[in-house]
Symmetry: C2
Subunit: 187 residues, 2 copies
């Protein structure tokens, strides 16, 4: 049986050591019996008149279409929420009805991050609103309910650590997703 291919989504592509982290993630995939597909597997350059972003998009879409599953790093990126590119890709996999696995390096639920950054006041409807009057989701989820529920729809949850991990290159949560993937694929 060919080894299942897993697309590795997350904002680590923006880190200074993006390529090295990718190589470490792909090596761990090998250890677990998978092939990791990483967005930076391709070396991109744009000829005159070409848009580099279009080439990256097309390559990522091709990797995702060819993947048997995806692992999504939903760690907050430049703010309190997951990287929107990663959120887009999680939705894309949901649309293709492929198995998804996700983790965050942040221990607390979204509610706590919103409350710390934007305030949280009880509102007349029994919920909470931030200082701008915006409703705050309070379901204990790692992020917006669409993301967490996409995992629960497949009987999984976003994997989170007991205490927030500050090293973006930590692989413990990623490894936990690989264990889930191994169970899913039955080996």
């Amino acid at each position: 049986m060919p080894r299942p291919k897993i697309y590795l989504a997350g904002p680590e592509v923006f880190l200074p050591d993006a390529r090295e982290i990718g190589l470490r993630k792909k090596a761990l995939c090998e250890d677990f019996g998978f092939v990791g597909l990483y967005p930076l597997d391709n070396d991109f350059s744009a000829a005159p008149g070409e848009r580099l972003d279009e080439k990256i998009f097309a390559a990522n879409m091709a990797l995702m279409r060819g993947a048997d599953a995806g692992i999504f790093n939903l760690t907050p990126f430049r703010g309190i929420n997951a990287d929107p590119g990663t959120a887009f890709e999680l939705g894309f996999f949901a649309g293709l009805d492929k198995p998804v696995f996700a983790y965050s390096h942040h221990a607390a639920p979204l509610f706590d991050r919103v409350a710390a950054e934007f305030g949280a006041q009880p509102s007349s409807d029994g919920g909470h609103r931030d200082s701008a009057g915006l409703m705050i989701e309070n379901f204990g989820n790692a992020d917006n309910l669409m993301l967490d529920s996409a995992l629960r729809a497949q009987s999984r949850a976003v994997v989170r650590p007991d205490a927030t991990l500050t090293d973006p290159g930590a692989l413990e949560m990623f490894a936990a997703c690989l264990r889930q993937a191994r169970l899913h694929f039955g080996f």
Copy 2:
């Protein structure tokens, strides 16, 4: 011919006047010959033992599956990026290969918001990095390239105003998407 159904995605569901904005968007859809599907069309409540977030997720997924197209409000939400729930939904539509239309109330590209909030320094690779060393996309896009390119893959672009709109209930950009949708559906 039955009127095409358009899913109305965006973070306005968190606003104090979320329902009123939804009614105004749906009314404008009618004016353009469409039926607008708004996440708050359903009145949600959870019985003991039920998860309210799961009910909302299931209802939104059903609305999206039943829609002929989607209009996505990518205006930055609680930070510099689009709401991740909306990004997820845009990806879901891309996975289902349905027509997508998108707008932002923010005039500037993502790069400018990152630079203002997190700094931007030229890096040795010819690009830019923020104060944390994270690469900054600089393609003139409204948000992460996966989002903008999903629009361009359908020969469209994220609609943006000449000057940032501060009223979250403004409908000019939404109307511009409805005009695109009317062209797409040929009436």
